[in-house]
Structures are given as structure tokens and as C-alpha cells.
Amino acid sequence: MSPAADTVVGLLVLIGAGFVLVGSWGLVRLPSVMERLHAPTKATTLGVGALLLASMIDGRTRYGNWTAHELLVTLFLFVTAPVAANMIAKVHLHRTRTVAGGEADGIAGPPPRPDDEGDWATFAEPRRNCPGTPPDP
């Protein structure tokens, strides 16, 4: 393994692990749910991404075989992580607005309404069948 590759991989590993750690640190220290929700994004994206990249290069340089399937992990994370974040945010919104004794609003306060008459999906029956979602019986 060339020193250059060694350095690159080493750096990537450290960057990835560092972002994972920063994400979790954010989870601990940020003041309320919505802020904390931002933290895992770093772990998901740059953290795991850098590690996977390191793994790819590492595999190539150390064992001589190209492995690209690490990309798939990132692909799946990119598909699923926003959904998870969305659902968690909805839980938070739901708990702040509708559950007595539920969670307090974060430092950003309650969310504004989308427009004058409508409301967010978490709070309102869908005004029309949303595109693509199944019609409710």
C-alpha cells in the first residue's frame, strides 16, 4: 500500500468517525428535539459516507480488488434516512400540539401554518387525496 493511499484512507477514516462522533455529541448537547434531529444527518451522510469511501479505497489498495458495493449502503441510507427524520419530526409536532402534557416546543417555537386556511398533514385530514398516496376508504 502506497503511503499516499494510506494517508488518504487514514484521513477519511478519521473524518468519518469524527462526523459520527460530532453527530452524537450534537444529539447530547443540542437543546431540544428538533435541533437534535439534525445531528444524525452528519453521521448518516458524511460520517458513514467517508468511512465507506475509505473502505472502498482500502479494499482496492490493500487487496487489489475493486469494491463498489459500499455505495449501496449510502444509497439505502439516502433513501431511508430522510423518511425517518420526517416521521420523527411528525411525532414531535404531534406530541407538542395534540398530546396533553406532551413535549414542549423547541427553541424555534411552534411551527407557522402553511397558509391561511390549511394546516400540516400531521394535524389535518388530507384536503384532497395526496398524489400517490392510497385513497382512504
Binding site: L14, V20, L21, Y63, V73, T80, I88
Partner: protein, 89 residues
Amino acid sequence: MIALALPLALGCVGVAMLLTLWRLVRGPSLADRIVALDTMVVDAIALIVLIGMTSGTDSGFEAALLLAMVGFVGTVAYCKFILRGDIVE
């Protein structure tokens, strides 16, 4: 460099997991705990990748892939339970 970076990185991820656990135990809200659990899955994927690099085997790939693909199912199911009670309607 790698030889130095890998243990360090493993330590970082381990600490990250413990921090996440702290949030999970501490809460205070349900949403907090779900965030923590979701983060924990990502941390686990990072850990698997690092373990794979340390050992020089590729055998952890399927596990990482599977976690990336179905790890969020638990998260959304927990969320759906809070939102709707019935996770399948």
C-alpha cells in the same frame, strides 16, 4: 496512518454510541428517544464498516447493507405507533 486511524476511529464511534445511548436513556421526550435509536443504527453501520476494515474481510457488508435498508423500519414503526396507534391500517 490506517493502523493509527482505525483504533482511534473505532473509539470515536464507540463513544458516539455511548453518547447516543445517554440521549436514549435520558429522553426526555419520546421523539428524543426515537432519534437516538435511529442514530444508533447509523453508528452501528459505521462500526461495521470500521470492523470490516480492521479485519480486512468483507463479510460485514451484507449486515451494513441490511441495516441501511431495514434499520429505519423500526424507527418509522415506532413513529407510526405514536402518530396513529395502529401501525398498519
